[in-house]
Amino acid sequence: MGSASLLEIKRSIKSVQSTMQITKAMELVATSKLRRAKERAEQTRPYHKALSEAIDRIRSYEATTGSVFAEQRKDPKTCIIVVAGDRGLAGGFNNNVFRLAASIAEKEGGNCCYLPIGKKAVERFTYEKKEILTDSFVNVSSFGVSKSIALGNTLADYFLKGTIDKAVIVYTEFVSMLSQVPTSSTLLPLSPLENTASGENESSFSDEPLYESSPDEMLKRIVPSYLGGSIYIALCESFAAECGARRTAMNSANKNAEEMLNNLSLGFNRARQAVITQEITEIVSGADAL
């Protein structure tokens, strides 16, 4: 009996050890990927800032209150872009995004379609049989600048045609190594301009610039890129957050494994000792009988 339980403990120690090897490797991979992802996310900020500044600049001089892209339509059909990961094992990373997406869908009232980015998101919304605009964005890590901009163009097209009336992007923001917060932002229609006291801060534009083509034409060309840029930023943030979440998850998995190993080896030593003690008693009592 004793040797059987010994073997059993030995086996589970081995299995925990091999799992720990995997989680340790995954933690290291996530850490190194995280560093690169963070840099990439930082690099996209100037582009996005320049674009949103330009759009504000054009819009602040338009005679009408807004362009076609700012039109608030009634009973909007909302397109929810959900950015999740390609893989699991990242704690609550994917689920938190889905939960936020669901709560937004509820708020918008039923009339929603989805544009999932990332394998987990595509799988989830296909499983739930939701209306999906396209399921061709399965691979987040290969989703580069050109694809984002192409997607921005498509979104702007859909909006102008009236296929969708609103576009919301749901992604995970990378706050720090330990904290990743699911957030959402409305891409279309453009938010109304804030009437800040102009002329006071430096960033407001006091003189109307010279336009090469009409403001509306320019917005039509800039807005798709702006959307693409926003999507690209969200992707970078989300990827960094995914790495962060995976790192944290794997870290705690490692700790758990270590604890389990401690308990198991303690149990193993006790069982081994018990076997030895029993053998000695048997030998001693055998000798006594002689």
């Binding site: 320049a50 600048v145 610039p209 336009y211 090469e212 034409e217 320019m218 693409g228």
Partner: protein, 133 residues
């Protein structure tokens, strides 16, 4: 020569940031050259060639999209792609051109046609910049 502050911003990097003397870009209405103390200005940028002159030396680059903004001697060129002539992979551009031509032949609707044409334009711009460096 008088200079202005030029910043070229791409989605994934900042290819150029510093003082420049001249900037030649192709807007949707045609080529335009910016010198220092240009009036405030906004234009959309087309796929084509750009030339940045720093200290009398001109560097040529291929550019696609998005816009150019001038504000008080601060020039921002926001692009979707930007490559200096010596960074262009000519073979890749030639391949891209072939693919784009194939796509134009096979294009069935307006949308894919426009996409293919844009791709072809980018490839042609890259090739011409790379060959005339």
């Amino acid at each position: 020569m008088n200079t202005f502050h030029l910043e070229v911003v791409a989605p994934d990097c900042t290819p150029f940031c510093g003082e420049a003397e001249r900037l030649l870009v192709k807007t949707t209405e045609g080529y335009i050259e910016i010198l220092s103390n240009h009036t405030d200005y906004l234009a959309t940028v087309d796929t084509g060639k750009a030339k940045i002159t720093v200290n009398g030396k001109a560097r040529v680059a291929s550019v696609s999209g998005c816009f150019l903004s001038v504000k008080k001697n601060n020039v921002k060129l926001v692009v979707n792609t930007f490559e200096f002539a010596d960074e262009i992979d000519l073979n890749r551009a030639l391949r891209a051109k072939e693919i784009a031509e194939q796509m134009i032949k096979e294009a069935s609707d307006k949308e894919s046609m426009a996409k293919a044409q844009a791709k072809l334009m980018r490839a042609i711009a890259r090739i011409s910049v790379a060959k005339n460096k």
